[in-house]
């Protein structure tokens, strides 16, 4: 197991009541696995069916494996411009 830090923003930060989450996941877990763990937390009802996740500041696919030291963020629906 290892612990990853997940950054939250905007409506997600509001719903979870935090700007970061500390999540314990087995080594070799994917983005999909991480989301499954996060769904168990209070506040997770804010998440859509397929929440966007950024790893190292790039949008990541569900099957992407997470590595030690990755910068991970959950990205709420964007509304720039």
């Amino acid at each position: 197991m290892s612990t990853v830090t997940v950054q939250l923003f905007a409506s997600y930060a509001e719903s979870f009541g935090e700007t970061t989450l500390q999540i314990s996941i087995p080594t070799g877990s994917t983005v999909r696995d991480l989301i499954a763990r996060i769904r168990l937390l209070p506040g997770a009802t804010v998440l859509p069916d397929s929440p966007r996740v950024a790893v190292n500041r790039k949008f990541a696919l569900p099957e992407q494996q997470l590595g030690l030291g990755d910068e991970i963020a959950l990205i709420p629906p964007v509304a720039g411009g």
Binding site: S11, F59, A79, G80
Partner: protein, 146 residues
């Protein structure tokens, strides 16, 4: 010239325009987004813009690089403001310069469309009745925002 930035001050369209002008270019296209007083039928009093700044910067840099590649623009810039904006305030300015008009116009449209879908920036819309709400463009009819 390629320049993307997120700023906490007023964005001045004239400054961005000057930055992309180039004597080789006959055409500059610009897009200016401002805070509207009504959205989805509700009276808006202001918008708080926030961002995942490091990623937003990286995405905007990447979008401009793609625009250069696709449209061959000589110079291109985007400035996005963050923080509390009032009605009429400029939230974003995009400017693109090319020898000819069509690629300049195409590049500008490309950049605003891409910003809307992939740059991690969020709007907390404040309404006249004191309520505020996170804007989710997908939840509505596709006409939210500029």
């Amino acid at each position: 010239m390629r320049h993307a930035s997120l700023v906490n001050r007023e964005v001045d369209p004239a400054t961005v325009l000057s930055a992309v002008r180039d004597s080789r270019c006959g055409a500059v296209s610009m897009f200016v987004g401002t805070v509207r007083d009504v959205n989805e039928g509700r009276r808006v009093s202001g918008i708080d813009y926030s961002a995942y700044i490091e990623m937003a910067q990286a995405e905007m840099d990447q979008i401009l690089a793609e625009a250069e590649e696709r449209f061959g623009v000589r110079s291109i810039a985007v400035e996005h403001r963050l923080g509390s904006l009032a009605i009429g305030d400029v939230s974003i300015v995009i400017a693109a310069a090319h020898e000819h008009r069509s690629p300049a116009l195409d590049a500008t449209r490309f950049v605003i469309e891409q910003v809307k879908v992939r740059v991690p920036i969020w709007k907390l819309e404040q309404y006249d009745d004191g309520v505020s709400e996170w804007v989710d463009p997908a939840r509505h009819t596709g006409v939210t925002g500029a």
